[in-house]
């Protein structure tokens, strides 16, 4: 560790209702390992001061926890977040800044990077230090997961990367680990209000968030009509899974766009992906083929989805899916 903080690793964490989201906790665990390799200090940055589980971030490996923002946690204030992060990073000069991909990755992180005169390597699935060059090697998929690229920052700092949810497994907390809690008050007056949140509409069509879910159950065109999505929704419920779909059901108005997995929808990488009646067009595969385990159920043995499936089942999904739901429900008691 160097005294000017130049070896520091930061993780920008995300909270909902005062609790840190699971992918952020998992990323802290990964960053702890990276920090341990070269005796760096690990700082968790929370974009809220109301973080009930801040002590947990220390238990998972943070040496320090920064609690930014005013006392009222805002649902959305990108302009303020960018300014706060930039001010803090200019002052402390961290070597690495990590965040989970998702809405931070679509605005706050890249804007912060430009203000700090550095780049971003988004949606990484692997991070390793090259000990010779002391650079962080960031591996990210491109071309719909059919290609991997290693990205490095030869001479700009900080090295900024966002990682896909589930890229790293949650570590084991050590409750005896203590972290320094630092509140950073923020002068809201200094941010010119060029954007303003007027209203929030919560999505009620799915209880589990698609891009964060550990398990995704996806229904495709093979379901035939909108009503039949109830069948996959039941399977999703038993598994505590998020409900996904492919492009045709969205284009036909069966399912809202927010559930679309694929190139023009969401790119997901859960631990388990169950595709029911999904043919597997390249644009769909691009959105899910980095999932850990892929189960495909389709009546057409030549469907391209079977090429990426870990377990394939050729057959009638209207028989298989309810059976699977029943069996899993029994197992749960």
């Amino acid at each position: 560790m160097t005294s000017d903080g130049s070896g520091d690793i930061w993780v920008v964490t995300e909270q909902r209702d005062g609790r840190t989201k699971a992918p952020s906790i998992a990323l802290i665990g990964k960053a702890r390992k990276l920090a341990g390799e070269r005796q760096s200090r690990l700082t968790a940055v929370c974009l809220s001061q109301v973080v009930e589980d801040a002590a947990q971030l220390a238990a998972y490996g943070a040496d320090r926890v920064y609690l930014l923002d005013g006392p009222v946690p805002d649902d959305w204030n990108d302009d303020a977040y960018v300014k706060e992060l930039v001010d803090l990073a200019r002052r402390e000069k961290p070597d690495v800044i990590l965040a989970t991909s998702g809405s931070l990755s679509s605005s706050v992180i890249p804007r912060m990077a430009v203000a700090l005169d550095t780049g971003v390597s988004p949606n990484c699935i692997s991070l390793d230090f090259d000990h010779q060059s002391r650079m962080l090697v960031q591996t990210r998929p491109a071309f719909g997961g059919s290609l991997m690229a290693n990205v490095v920052f030869p001479n700009r700092r900080p090295q900024i990367a966002t990682v896909r949810p589930h890229a790293f497994k949650k570590g084991d907390p050590d409750p005896s680990r203590q972290g320094e809690m630092i509140r950073v008050d923020f002068d809201r007056q200094a941010v010119s209000a060029k954007t303003k949140l007027l209203n929030v509409v919560k999505d009620l069509s799915g209880k589990v968030r698609l891009d964060e879910a550990e398990v995704v159950v996806c229904g495709g065109r093979g379901l035939g009509k909108a009503e039949n999505f109830q069948m996959v929704a039941e399977l999703a419920e038993v598994l505590g899974a998020a409900l996904g779909t492919s492009r045709p059901p969205v284009d036909d108005g069966w399912v809202p766009y927010a559930h679309q997995v694929g190139q023009t929808g969401k790119i997901v990488s859960p631990r388990l992906y169950i595709a029911c009646g999904v043919a597997g067009a390249p644009q769909h595969l691009a959105g899910m083929q980095t999932s850990e385990i892929i189960v495909a159920i389709n009546e057409d043995p030549r469907a391209p989805i079977f090429e990426v499936a870990t377990y394939g089942m050729v057959g009638d999904l209207f028989k298989i899916v309810p059976l699977l739901t029943k069996k899993l429900r029994e197992a749960r008691g």
Binding site: P122, F143, S146, V152, K196, L198, V201, T264, P282, Y311
Partner: protein, 261 residues
Amino acid sequence: MNVIVCIKQVPAKIKIEIDPKTSALASGGVDRAINPPDLYALEEGIRIKEKTKGKVTVLTVGPAKADESLKEAIGYGADDAVLLSDPAFEGSDTWATSLVLAKAIRKIGQFDLVLCGKQSIDGETGQVGPMLGEALGVPFVSLVNRIDELGQESIKMMRMSDEGHQLIEMTLPGVITVVKEINVPRIPSLRGLMAAKKAAITVWNARELGIDPATVGMAGSPTRVSRVFFPQRASQGEMLQGDPESQVEQLVERLRQTRAI
């Protein structure tokens, strides 16, 4: 209203190959097209122009042949297109690309709204839109799925958030990225196709944009790709045989073994 739409030319098929000698992407001879998510930005830009009797200018950073995509954009209804092209831009990452786009927009001068697609289908970074907003020093909103009100001074719109949707007001000029839900892109009209054929595409190079070549391209980019490789499939997939009962039983057993459930 002056609208600027930024597009990218990408391989039309996402099946790609790596040159085994140089480990660079073998892109020669591959059909190229407008990045599909950018078509929603283009359509929205054209709709705004039609409503406000404004103008749509399309920009792209790319090699000489990227002018085909700009002509295509004129076919859809854009008024003007500028290709930002210079050997010095080659190998630019998202940061350097945003810098080039920002310089071009400054050179154009007058603009109210800049629209970008959510992300490209090749690089899949989704970073150029937000980076461009910051580089221009104007407000930015990502993942817009509906524009509700467009005034001279501000825009009200819905964006997709982690928990659903948010209604946001943003002052103009500003930059937004849009998602597919925002519209259904039109098919180019015959008149559009004729205009595309005749269109002369303006090209601006680094000097004309006032860009120091050392600040862009491979040399000026903060990030560098040190290696590209094909992902390894963990194992060959297994087809579960038998009647539905037996298939389901096998599946549940395997998922238990791998602790997936």
